[in-house]
Symmetry: C2
Subunit: 196 residues, 2 copies
Amino acid sequence: MNKIITVSRQFGSGGRTIGKLTAERLGIPCYDHEFIEEVAKSCGFAKEYIEAHGEYSDSGNLLGRIFKSANRFDNLSNQDKIWIEQRKIILKIAEEPCVIVGRCADYILRDRDDVLNVFIHADDKFRAERIVSLYGEKPDKPEKRLRDKDRRRAAYYKDYTETEWGVASNYHLALDSGKLGIDSCVNILVGVYNNK
Amino acid sequence: MNKIITVSRQFGSGGRTIGKLTAERLGIPCYDHEFIEEVAKSCGFAKEYIEAHGEYSDSGNLLGRIFKSANRFDNLSNQDKIWIEQRKIILKIAEEPCVIVGRCADYILRDRDDVLNVFIHADDKFRAERIVSLYGEKPDKPEKRLRDKDRRRAAYYKDYTETEWGVASNYHLALDSGKLGIDSCVNILVGVYNNK
């Protein structure tokens, strides 16, 4: 019996939209930006700060490493502090059926067998068009932006899980939203969630 | 419009069975062991030799490297020779709708947009039980056998494609047959093949 769907996704792949639509079809909540409000309430950081550091690592560059070491209190970096708060919230919301987008929820819930872990990806062309038309990203060199966001998500995942982001065997389903289409991905997830 | 399904798979995951059942449901042929007969006819190697070297690399160990360098004629290793014959056969059979299991068919057909690339995987427990009960593998340490076969399949894939085996973004669908079940995987593939 499946209870939770976690959605990891490449930037611009439509993973968040697929999560929302799947949750709507299943009549269960979908958590994504809602985390930020909750984390802000419990640890006091500004929402923009949490959005920037809640699933993106800075450890891949020099400024990031300086940030990480300079912002410590209680022996924890700010990024660690946000991780701990997010983890608590994920464990709490996962008591009831829901869809959770990003934030290493697949790893945090790894010991449960009622969780369906999904990875959504697509080729650069599909994602570049999507971030320009839907997110209002600047149309020059969107591919660089895709690579940068994915690199930082992967580094964040590695920082806290010690496993690799985007490796097929870490997920129960990995779907190419560009090839299959958003609706087809939603249909597959609804079918799988309801079947077991 | 999809015409071809390629199935890459972890050893013992049931990928071959999923390929066969999907092809049956779609009323199209499935090619797997059939390659070996064809390659044997056209390049003269024994069937057992082709089975051992047609999708498993030996380059990961010393004996393998000696084999690779010692068995050259026409500046090609025997493994290269088998690759070339397999590639020709894949290009020919892919003129008509079919399912192709293994042998880097996803890479060989990468420039076509009527090909659905699938990766099937499962956890060690599911695969170990499967290789012991279905393939008659020795029941002691089946996990070591799984790791060895997968490592050699991954190395073969890397040898000829220069990309990584098992990375989600290389496939349109990657499915965990242990979590989802063989029948559910077949249903998903039949649905996706017929839908576009």
